[in-house]
């Protein structure tokens, strides 16, 4: 079929928004524009991060995510909560920061607790296995298990607190960071609504338990 347009005329230039793609392809034009914007962004300077209110917040925010043994345990709390479902999904992440802060307070004041590092590694193993085996104990028992481990995690953080940081903003950053790790676990745990998601979450539990073993036997 012959085209009705003049074959000698130059084709009109297309803008990025007019770049058409096959029906099932993602249009590249908008994303090219986005990448161009991002290349123009300046890098932000991060001066004085160790001191003052902002430094205290950043220091506290980074502390819980600084150690893999802590991170996996926090995520495991959220995952397990999501697995238990109902009230447990939110009760465990409410219990953990409060009890952890109590442990942190003990650490700040120099009250000694034995076997802290081993208990933290053990928390990864126990919580990971709870997720891996999809264990559903009584809610009170689950809260006690989480609470006991939270004291050790809090104590470890409390004893490692930098003295120069602003205490108030340090605590705010620390608690928000911990809470966000729990929320990440809960978000991942919501995959359990689908059969394949359950497999993914339980596999995550196995991985967390393995990390715990790694720390317990000093392999990591």
């Amino acid at each position: 079929m012959k085209s009705e347009s003049d074959p000698n005329s130059m084709p009109a230039r297309k803008t990025s928004s007019q770049i058409r793609c096959p029906a099932d392809a993602i249009p590249l034009g908008p994303w090219l524009t986005t990448v161009s914007f991002l290349l123009l962004l300046p890098a932000t300077a991060s001066a004085h991060t160790g001191t003052g209110a902002v430094g205290g917040f950043l220091s506290g925010f980074k502390h819980p995510v600084g150690g893999l043994d802590h991170v996996v345990a926090m995520v495991a709390v959220g995952l397990w909560g999501a697995f238990l479902g109902g009230r447990a999904m939110w009760l465990l992440p409410v219990v953990f920061p409060v009890v952890m802060a109590f442990g942190g307070a003990l650490g700040v004041m120099g009250v000694p607790i034995p076997f802290v590092e081993k208990a933290i590694a053990l928390s990864g193993i126990v919580l990971g296995l709870m997720v891996a085996f999809a264990a559903r104990p009584n809610l009170k028992i689950a809260a006690i298990i989480v609470g006991v481990f939270a004291i050790f995690h809090g104590h470890a953080h409390g004893t490692e607190l930098p003295t120069a940081a602003n205490p108030m903003t340090y605590a705010i950053g620390f608690v928000i960071s911990t809470g966000l790790l729990h929320l990440s676990g809960i978000a991942l745990g919501l995959l359990t609504r689908w059969p394949r998601g359950k497999i993914v979450v339980r596999s995550g539990g196995v991985a967390i338990a393995l990390v715990g073993f790694g720390f317990l036997f000093k392999l990591l």
Binding site: C21, T33, G104, A105, M109, M168
Partner: protein, 202 residues
């Protein structure tokens, strides 16, 4: 089939730009501010005040039956009294445990989602208002400047408690958002505990 997003090429850019963090502006918020503006900003830049204000607002919004008016009517004069004491220098400094301690008590009630008797609620609001007022001593300056600064602080604290309380009451209509309020309460409890420990260590 045409993807809808292709009609607005700037849309992804806007989303990405919104996610880009802004650079921290150390010491930029307070320097150069004075009078009314300084008073307005003061509670917002004092983390201990923010914690108490948020906790009071959440408690206010959680109470059943909802009553925003009476606790605020208690808050307003006691806050004014605290500010007046601070400005006149009658009480120069407050006990460092006071604000984190009040935040701890109020946030514990929020985390437990407890409705408390009106008398106890009013007493908590009065204590918190006096404590915030006493901890908001204005910078030295002319009498007019000090009054403007105190007025700014008074307005922003009352407004924020009312505002947080209103949003908490709206949020409390759904079960998941009630839980969200309790989670925020538990975070404030944890922060207050840690701060109290820091203070004890000093």
């Amino acid at each position: 089939m045409q993807h809808r997003i292709s009609r607005s090429p700037l849309l992804p850019s806007v989303f990405v730009l919104l996610a880009v963090p802004t650079g921290a502006q150390a010491h930029g918020a307070i320097k150069g501010l004075e009078g009314f503006t300084s008073g307005l900003v003061h509670p917002l830049t004092t983390p201990a005040h923010v914690l108490v204000i948020v906790a009071l607002g959440l408690l206010l919004g959680q109470q059943k039956p909802l009553d925003l008016k009476r606790p605020l009517l208690v808050l307003m004069p006691f806050l004014a009294a605290g500010l007046a004491f601070a400005a006149t220098g009658i009480i120069a400094e407050i006990y460092q445990f006071l604000l984190p301690g009040i935040a701890l008590c109020v946030a514990t009630l929020v985390a437990l989602q407890k409705t408390i008797p009106q008398m106890a609620r009013n007493a908590l609001f009065a204590l918190a208002a006096v404590a915030i007022g006493l901890d908001s001593a204005p910078e030295p300056g002319s009498a007019a400047m000090i009054v403007k600064s105190l007025l700014g602080t008074w307005i922003v604290v009352v407004f924020l408690v009312f505002d947080v309380g209103s949003y908490a009451a709206l949020a409390g209509r759904k079960e998941w958002s009630q839980i969200g309020l309790r989670v925020i309460g538990s975070w404030i409890v944890a922060i207050s505990l840690l701060v109290l420990a820091f203070e004890l260590k000093k």
